[in-house]
Symmetry: C2
Amino acid sequence: MDEQGDTLTAVFAALADPTRRAILQRLTVGSASVAELGEPFCMSQPAVSKHLKVLERAGLISREQVATARYSRLEAEPLREATEYMQRYRRFWNESFDRLDAALADHLSTVTSAEPPSTTPEKERTDD
Amino acid sequence: MDEQGDTLTAVFAALADPTRRAILQRLTVGSASVAELGEPFCMSQPAVSKHLKVLERAGLISREQVATARYSRLEAEPLREATEYMQRYRRFWNESFDRLDAALADHLSTVTSAEPPSTTPEKERTDD
DNA sequence: CTCCTTGATAACCTTGTGGTTATGAAGCTT
DNA sequence: AAGCTTCATAACCACAAGGTTATCAAGGAG
């Protein structure tokens, strides 16, 4: 769970910042130098470099030195993995209504004896 | 961009922790009390409560007080939103070759002196 | 009523994160 | 060679994050 759990952590952490998300979005229209990437933000150049390093360590960008410039390129593979991870929860936003009903009914019928609102334990269990 | 960008930040930040991901996974098999959720981890109870608070603020769980127990329930809606967000990048792990062309063209049109990170030659940009 | 369990909260510590300025390496331009 | 541009790195700062222990409120169980 932690070989790529580590990757997941890095990717989600990288995405948990608006600046970095904006950088990624900018990169969807093509590679860009550090200066270009930092231009939209009122932020010093080293700050941008730090963000890029975070993105790079998460595998979300690759970088290529051309002259004095360092061009960043979007690498979407980790995003695919992260998406796949979240897809494991897809059934829960599909069947949330069923679960809600079940939980409510269960709770109403057992609240006097203080039992947990066990939300239909989904024997499906496609665990990893 | 930041009405739900805030939500995105909270969700990704919440997911960027292995403990919280494990808690979410545990919740896929049903609601659980704080003690139950914390049992797999060698971690104090307040630490678990903090994680739960993070998850709650990200909208990833809802909570229900039954007696002295507080049962957490998985709320997958924010995960759906986060997945949708990442889906915007799907074409980049599908059509990464086309994208390279786009990147190159874009870069050429904005930078006249330095050379682009030429990975593939010529072509016009195919922005969406 | 008294005791035990559950879990929240506060106070605190340590690390990590996001930002800054200052500096320096490397490469064009002239 | 001299100077400007691009960017990384270091040193530093403020604050958030994840963890701890101590404490306390509230609800069963005896």
